[in-house]
Amino acid sequence: MADSKKPADSSRPDLEDSTSVVERHEGLLAQGAAQAREKQVAETGMEPVSLWVFVASAVVLLVAGGVLGAGGKLFSYNPHPQDYTRTEFASDADTGPTIGPILTALSKRGKNIYAKCSGCHGSTGNGDGNQFPPLAGSDWVTGSTERLAQIILNGLSGPIDVAGKTYNGVMPAQAPLTAAELAAVMTFVRNEFNDVGDIVTVEQAANALKIYESRPQGQITVKELNDKHDKMLEGEPVDPATMVDFETLKPAAAE
């Protein structure tokens, strides 16, 4: 759009120049200044279509052809897919090695069981810093295994000091657990959030269950734990690197 203050530019035909010559149309100009300033819509140019546009279109067509190829037979209106066999998706549950160190085997199982615990203690084992104590860096987890096992099985009530802070919540009992499950979840919390480096064997866990059954029902307190249970569980320790079958947890030869 031109500005009338500019000197007339002969290369740019526009209405403003012509109207300025015709005095009798000034009134009209007042009515339609914008219309008067408009340029004519010129005729369409006849440049040929550039080769590059065709090349680019051909590339796009190629891509589109590839997309179309994924659609199977064109215009076959069967709503059930033809020649289709489902790709079976391998999930964590049925993949991975079937033989490996017992530490890995137990931790992997323990991770699934820990999903229950993560609601309070958090998926990273840090608790919530207020009501639910952390598991990471807690002496109760890294210390004697019998004590830990009894907390898990019986639940806990009353104040407890964890990592320099007193927590006063109530933990519900997690029993019934099988010995293998207890061993797995204890191994998991001791090694995932802490670096204890040993495993809790199924045999040890079975002994913990015996102690649990001989004790009256009800949540355990810190006092009772420290008085009676501050020791390691009985049972033959097993080297965490022992190769076992993931399914049975029985020793197996490495492949």
């Binding site: 209405l15 012509s18 010129a42 005729e43 209106y77 066999t85 489902r86 790709t87 609601g119």
Partner: protein
């Protein structure tokens, strides 16, 4: 003067170029109707008619051990519930489509499309399956959805049963789980630990001061001082509809695409 000449030239060029247009109105409309009509026929009308006359699939004696028409097991207030689902925009965040494995990987998720179960020999069978055209039976519009802000709901009724085993849940039945989820999604668990939740649909519930013993209809697990929460008819229809969304029935051999089946052949 020069300017005037230029103006004249522009106009005369206009007149010279004003040759008859090869694209007449009739040709233009015809071409337009044709370019629109072909896809209109091929991807709207014809498939619409075909799908309207969707053939039933049958269980065959040879392959399935019984001989009957496959009709998905589905019961509940589907029509009303589906309308409530739409009117409250559930489809904005939730989808209802398990894509075939060439188009997506929902089938790989353990609980979205069906479960892995153990048969009597202890062999794990994956019952997960794609959405079939029969899954939306009873609805007038398939709420396929826009985006997955929330999880897919194709198998939500099957999945909720598993949520009830969660020791932290407050719900004692699938209905109550859904009522709690709809009323305030963080009320489902005892820890109120629900980061990205569904917006509260409190307008689907009636809050009422408790008189006497309280209503047996009230949603359990919501503790508010002297106020009980009752699901309205909309909430009941919606929950009934959601509980009809499940993928746990066996489909006939002819629309079962699992590799296990192919192996058996």
């Amino acid at each position: 003067m020069g300017n005037l000449l230029m103006v004249r030239r522009t106009i005369s060029i206009n007149f010279i170029l004003r040759k008859p247009d090869p694209m007449t109105f009739k040709a233009f409309i015809l071409a337009l109707a044709l370019s629109f009509g072909v896809p209109w026929l091929l991807i709207i009308v014809v498939p619409y008619g075909k799908m309207r006359n969707l053939e039933a699939v049958h269980f065959e004696m040879d392959s399935d051990g019984r001989d009957e028409v496959y009709v998905p097991r589905r019961s509940g207030r589907i029509t009303t519930g589906s309308a409530v689902y739409g009117a409250n925009g559930c489809y904005v965040c939730h989808t209802q489509l398990i894509r075939a494995s060439y188009a997506g990987s929902e089938l790989g998720r353990p609980d979205w499309a069906g479960f892995r179960i153990k048969d009597e020999n202890g062999v794990t069978i994956n019952t997960a399956r794609e959405t079939t055209p029969y899954d939306y039976v009873g609805e007038s519009f398939a709420h396929v959805g826009i985006m997955r802000v929330g999880p897919d709901l194709s198998n939500v009724a099957g999945r909720i049963q598993g949520y009830l085993d969660d020791p932290l849940t407050k719900a004692d039945s699938p209905e109550n789980w859904l009522y709690l989820h709809l009323y305030n999604s963080s009320f489902k668990t005892k820890t109120f630990n629900n980061v990205a939740g569904c917006p509260s649909q409190t307008h689907l519930f009636e809050e009422r001061v408790v008189r006497g013993q309280g209503s047996p209809e009230a949603v359990p697990g919501i503790n508010m001082d002297g106020v009980e929460v009752l699901p309205t008819g909309d909430a009941r229809a919606l929950v009934s509809y959601l509980l009809s969304l499940r993928k746990d029935d066996a489909v006939p051999y002819s629309i079962n695409y699992s590799r296990e089946k192919k192996k058996a052949e």
